[in-house]
C-alpha cells in the first residue's frame, strides 16, 4: 500500500512500480488529467491546494479500504498538488489483484473516495476571467 501527495509531475509508472506480483492476473491504472475546458469554458490550468498532512493520512486510509474490498494490498495512489497545466495528471492510481473484477472495482473506489473526502481543493484558471474554486463535496463526519 503506497499513498502520497506531491508537487512533482506524476505518471502511470509511478504507481505501477507499487503493484503487481506473481499472484496477480490483473492490474488497473487510473489517471485523472487536466482538461482544456470545463462546462464549455476554456481552461488554462489548475491549482490544487491541500491539507497535506491530513490528505496523506486520508489517501492511505482510502487505499487500505480499497485493498480490503478487493482482497489485495497492491494499491498505490498519488495526488499531485500545486500548479498544473492542461494535460497534466493530477491523480494516478494502480491496483493489482488476482482477478480483474476486483482490480477495476478497487481503482474506481479510490477515485470516487478521493472526490468525496480527500482534503484537497481545485481552483480553475480560465483563458478569460477570474479563477474559481470548484464546487466540492462535503465529507461525512464519522460518529
Amino acid at each position: 500500500m503506497r499513498a502520497w501527495i506531491t508537487t512533482d509531475p506524476i505518471a502511470a509508472q509511478d504507481v505501477l512500480d507499487g503493484v503487481g506480483t506473481a499472484t496477480d492476473g490483473a492490474t488497473v491504472v487510473f489517471l485523472g488529467t487536466v482538461r482544456e475546458e470545463n462546462d464549455g469554458r476554456p481552461v488554462s490550468g489548475l491549482r490544487y491546494d491541500a491539507y497535506v498532512a491530513m490528505a496523506e493520512d486520508v489517501l492511505l486510509r482510502i487505499a487500505g479500504e480499497a485493498g480490503r474490498r478487493a482482497g489485495t494490498d497492491r494499491v498505490a495512489v498519488v495526488h499531485r498538488i500545486g500548479e498544473l497545466a492542461v494535460g497534466d495528471a493530477s491523480v494516478a492510481i494502480a491496483v493489482s489483484s488476482p482477478h480483474r473484477a476486483e482490480a477495476f472495482d478497487a481503482a474506481r473506489f479510490v477515485i470516487e473516495a478521493i472526490k468525496q473526502r480527500l482534503p484537497v481543493w481545485k481552483q480553475e484558471y480560465y483563458v478569460e476571467g477570474a479563477p474559481r474554486w470548484l464546487d466540492g463535496s462535503t465529507p461525512a463526519v464519522g460518529p
Partner: protein, 81 residues
Amino acid sequence: MQVHLLLFALYRDLTGVDELNVEVADGATAAAALAGLRQSDPRFAVLPDRPVIALNRELAQLDAVLRDGDELALLPPVAGG
C-alpha cells in the same frame, strides 16, 4: 489555552488568513471557539456558520471539545481528483 487554526482554499481567500493561534476558554467546543472568533475578528464573519472541521487531522463534529495545542482546520467542500 490555545489552538492552532488552519484555513484552506476558498476559506483562506475569503479571510486572508492561512493559520492563526487562537486563545480559547478551557473546555470550549469547536463551535464555541469559532463563534467567538467570528465575533472578535471581522475577517471570519464571512465564513459559513457551521463549516466542516478537522481536529488534529481527523474530521470532527462541531461539538467536539478542544484541548490545548489542538490543530483545528476549517475545510471547504473538498474537490480532489
